[in-house]
Symmetry: C2
Subunit: 335 residues, 2 copies
DNA sequence: CTGAAAGCGCTAACAA
DNA sequence: TTGTTAGCGCTTTCAG
């Protein structure tokens, strides 16, 4: 049905060889200006576009990269994707987004799908469920360039980009302490995510710095990262059921913050109040909950940096042995 | 660097011809079960994957489709994408998502980028800015299968999927009327979008049915679809400045609803109240604004149907001349 | 400055 | 049941 014009067609029409046309179209210096002009004009007139598949096959490169995130309907990730795209387009790369929905199984399928040469490299933020990394190890072992961002794993020798989760969590928790709260709960993400441990650590540090003893019963994990609202509700209900209720909560993520606020609205009695601070890149949350103090990650920047690192890996002609672990700083937005 | 195993490698190792291997791997009936087993085992052991580029080049098909939406960080579109993916994966298609950010220019670039054989077909929801369709007309004219969904244009002979915007808007407006409001404003999307006209129409119908005269000054458009918060604030400020302020607003979209609620929070005096109803597929909005009545579109279903139609176009061996304009129904969620 | 030819990996006639 | 061959569209030596 859809039969685009090829280099051969142009060559025939202009009575030249395909190689000449190819060269002219990539603006080779060894082609007569006159001829070049003729070719380019003809190509434009018949709106020729290079067949990317043939080109890729020839080069052994697809000029596209795969991004694996848990979901795109998430301010943090969509901002990161914008950052990725901003670099990718500039360097002539395509971006293929794929969502794991925080399911291990889907993550495996998607990565497999992307991997075999359909992409030149992978930008991965781990799913909340993933504990076994062999699907990635395999590809990485065969030399597929991979950069991890945000939810990283350190069992691989490669570049990573994260934000300063410890410091962010510390600042967030401290902001609650500064407002006079002492019984501060922590609503955490899935336990085996890198960000979960780091943020928990920051929370603990803040408590320690102010001589507040850590109460393990005030820390609750959400194994599905809040994707299942039920688990958030369970956690909030648990907090509300305690003899000594917490007077504030420090929440580990965007989605959890939303879940937490809405669960609280639903479960708590009218007159009950609870102060919440947490990680969030959501404008909506800002807008609708003016009192909400949040830790903002430089998501766009993170995407940008990750993509730049990936391109560096892809385009390097020698194997790379030195890896960077970039840590960007977070920002406290309090009101 | 990354050098995956090819059919030729397998053939060599097993002392067979590439074609035999190829056939075995696509489970051809004409290959000896014994040989087939050997080949498949070897392939699995060395985890062979078919090079999609070569395969595509050969078939003249990429088995991937492009999706063009304004943004993914939007409940409606991310749900629609989930619907699209659910069908696509089942049928062996890849989904390449690209965001126009409601900019005409980016839409043109993205579509160009996707079009030339990198994809077998396109699923498009128009950007708010787009008035000129020649970039699409061109491709469509050359036979590239295209299905429009949600924000459609009817200057093309092809399938479309929308929801019943008129009826949704009518129900939403009526719900406000039922609650006793008479001065109902309408915060509309960009004027040249199909959905804008339809929703405006539904709003008018509801007013008419209840004998409320239409006051044109109560209708305000957002030319950037609410992407620029300023324009939403301007509209809200305008409503608040009227001598006869509206007592309710019917809002045309997700993003506008958020913008509107937050602008109102920001601009209106404490004691001022305003009832809002509007189109929205956002869970967050539901959660944080319990009083918000919304019109929900079957986004997932819309994606599903659009993708099925597209596959039908792609896989049809004859030119298709009969086109369907599917309209799915919307749902009123009131509280 | 231009052309001929080979080959990226895969598949499908055609032959055997 | 298996092999041979040609070619998808593009690029790049190598040879004029």
């Amino acid at each position: 049905m859809f039969k685009p014009i090829t280099i051969k067609d142009i060559a025939q029409a202009l009575e030249l060889s395909p190689s000449t046309v190819s060269r002219a179209l990539s603006d080779s210096y060894e082609i007569n200006e006159e001829t070049k002009k003729r070719i380019i004009e003809y190509a434009e007139k018949h709106n020729y576009r290079r067949n990317p598949m043939a080109s890729s096959l020839r080069h052994g490169r697809s000029y596209s990269i795969g991004v694996v995130v848990c979901e795109v309907a998430n301010s943090f990730f969509s901002q990161a994707i914008d950052g990725i795209e901003s670099v990718a387009y500039g360097k002539g790369y395509h971006v293929i987004i794929s969502q794991s929905h925080d399911s291990y199984e889907r993550e495996v399928v998607n990565i497999q799908h992307l991997a075999n040469r359909a992409v030149d490299g992978l930008l991965i933020s781990m799913s909340a469920e993933t504990k076994d990394f062999s699907h990635i190890a395999n590809l990485h072992g065969h030399g597929l360039p991979i950069v991890f961002f945000d939810r990283i794993i350190d069992s691989f020798e490669t570049h990573t980009v994260t934000s300063n989760n410890r410091e962010g969590a510390r600042m967030g928790t401290q902001s609650l302490i500064d407002r006079g709260f002492r019984k501060i709960a922590h609503l955490a993400n899935a336990p085996h995510l890198s960000i979960t441990a780091e943020r928990l650590d920051g929370y603990k540090t803040a408590l320690k710095q102010h001589g507040i003893p850590l109460d393990e019963s005030l820390v609750r994990y959400c194994h599905h990262g809040g994707r299942v609202q039920q688990e958030v509700e369970d956690a909030v209900r648990y907090f509300l059921s305690l003899d000594e209720k917490p007077d504030a909560i420090f929440v580990a993520s965007d989605r959890l913050s939303m879940g937490c606020l809405s669960a609280f609205n639903k479960l708590a009695p009218e007159d009950e109040h609870l102060s919440v601070a947490g990680f969030s890149n959501s404008d909506v949350l800002d807008l609708l909950q003016p009192g909400f103090t949040c830790i903002r990650q430089p998501a766009f920047e993170m995407g940008r940096v990750a993509m730049e690192m990936l391109i560096q890996l892809i385009e390097s002609h020698y194997p790379v042995y030195e890896f960077e672990n970039t840590v960007l700083s977070t920002e406290l937005i309090s009101r």
